[in-house]
Symmetry: C2
Subunit: 259 residues, 2 copies
């Protein structure tokens, strides 16, 4: 249906032109894109077509549109590593949250909000923790920030049987022990294995609001399970904007089967 296989559709042509301007620096991050009406007139098309061109660029994460104000070139997403390479236990006084470690290494100031509530395990959580649906769990939601900007969110669950009434019942917070491994170490539970399942999907509306993701951008999800002696003691669902981060894993090579 592309007309006659030779000519590019007008909306694709307009999008490509703007994309080129962004890529070669003619349009700088933060700079205004012409209004839809101006774009339409300049290209001799109707406004819906100009609008469609911008829609394509939005889906690519190249521009950001604010109703009533216009579209601007989106600040170049800074590719940042989230280093998930062998976890190690704390040395005294050290920050051991993987998030904090990454952020500090990249010269950012890591902060986070969290909220912990007691809840009942639903089927999925129960299955992953190896408990019974309806069992009590502590559920904590985090929003992680770098230099004050929200960049990552997560929700974690821990069996109430393990942490209820202990010093780590309260979430990670100011003046508290950071990092799951260190927290569990402090109550004598030694995490010895971490499993991460990595997936990607479109961001939900809630996630777009929570961590400032434009429409059309996907998120990488990491479903992490921490084991101590074969028992799952903590699970976390981590959500990060897919266009701004990559995850880095180091994989050992062994001679023997590991499962």
């Amino acid at each position: 249906m592309t007309p006659a296989g030779e000519a590019e559709p007008a909306h694709a042509r307009i999008a490509a032109a703007i994309r080129r301007q962004v890529e070669n620096g003619e349009l700088q991050p933060g700079q205004r894109i012409p209004p839809e009406q101006a774009l339409a007139e300049a290209n001799g098309v109707s406004r819906p077509i100009a609008r469609l061109a911008l829609q394509i660029l939005r889906a690519e994460g190249l521009i950001k549109t604010i109703p009533g104000r216009g579209s601007v070139v989106r600040p170049r997403p800074i590719l940042e590593a989230r280093d998930r390479t062998p976890y190690r236990r704390a040395r005294p006084g050290e920050s051991t949250s993987p998030y904090a470690r990454d952020a500090i290494r990249q010269g950012k100031v890591p902060t986070w909000d969290s909220e912990t509530v007691q809840a009942k395990a639903d089927e999925r959580v129960a299955q992953r923790l190896g408990i019974t649906p309806g069992d009590r769990v502590m559920r904590t939601t985090y929003v992680f920030k770098a230099d004050g900007w929200p960049v990552q969110a997560s929700t974690s669950w821990e069996p109430y049987d393990l942490v209820g009434g202990t010093p780590i019942e309260e979430p990670e917070g100011e003046g508290r022990i950071t990092g799951v491994i260190a927290r569990f170490d402090s109550i004598g539970i030694r995490i010895d294995r971490v499993l991460e399942k990595v997936h990607a999907r479109p961001a939900t509306v809630e996630e777009r609001v929570r961590i400032d993701i434009p429409e059309g951008i996907w998120v990488i999800t990491v479903d992490r399970t921490q084991y101590a002696g074969g028992r799952a003691v903590e699970i976390t669902d981590i959500v990060i904007p897919a266009d701004r981060y990559f995850l880095q894993y180091e994989i050992p090579v062994t001679d023997e089967p590991t499962t």
Copy 2:
């Protein structure tokens, strides 16, 4: 600009209705979605609005549209694991390509096409392999198939200095040694460390054609580097449809710093 903050826009309402029908099974995978014109009339809107509703569902990967034929419910992507948990060396006679191992475990027949050419390293490849731009490399592109359907693509580079003139100069293929680790073992190079960088981005047009990805679906990319004694001996860029797969990593927990 959602009208008056209460009413949902018509296109969102139509999309939501179809989404609900798919989710509760009223519309089965493969089943037809009404034509755009019919959808418009049934909902009392113009065709562009009905079309916009379908556009939303396409971007979510819920439906697939074929020009001239119509839209159908997309077969539910079956989430499959790509197990990237400690690599191990071959036992005799065993298939050791991680892809083949995963596919067989899931009851699929793994096949692949590959093409190897001699090329010169560009800047990026040279940097990752620790060689000089312009140096000769062997470049191999793969399309991996499960039961004959393309599901994953990759491109790998190896320094010609290492593999040129050896029995593994030719790619993995029928009757040949499969798996990078086994291939290098066979010429006496012992891979001892694998690093993977995981990212996600929109699929390119070429990728959509190569591995049958609908528009709007993103891909997970894995940039893998294999090291032998501190030297990078092989790099691979792996591309997989983000909605069909997840990657599973096992991360050791150590007492000591690893870097």
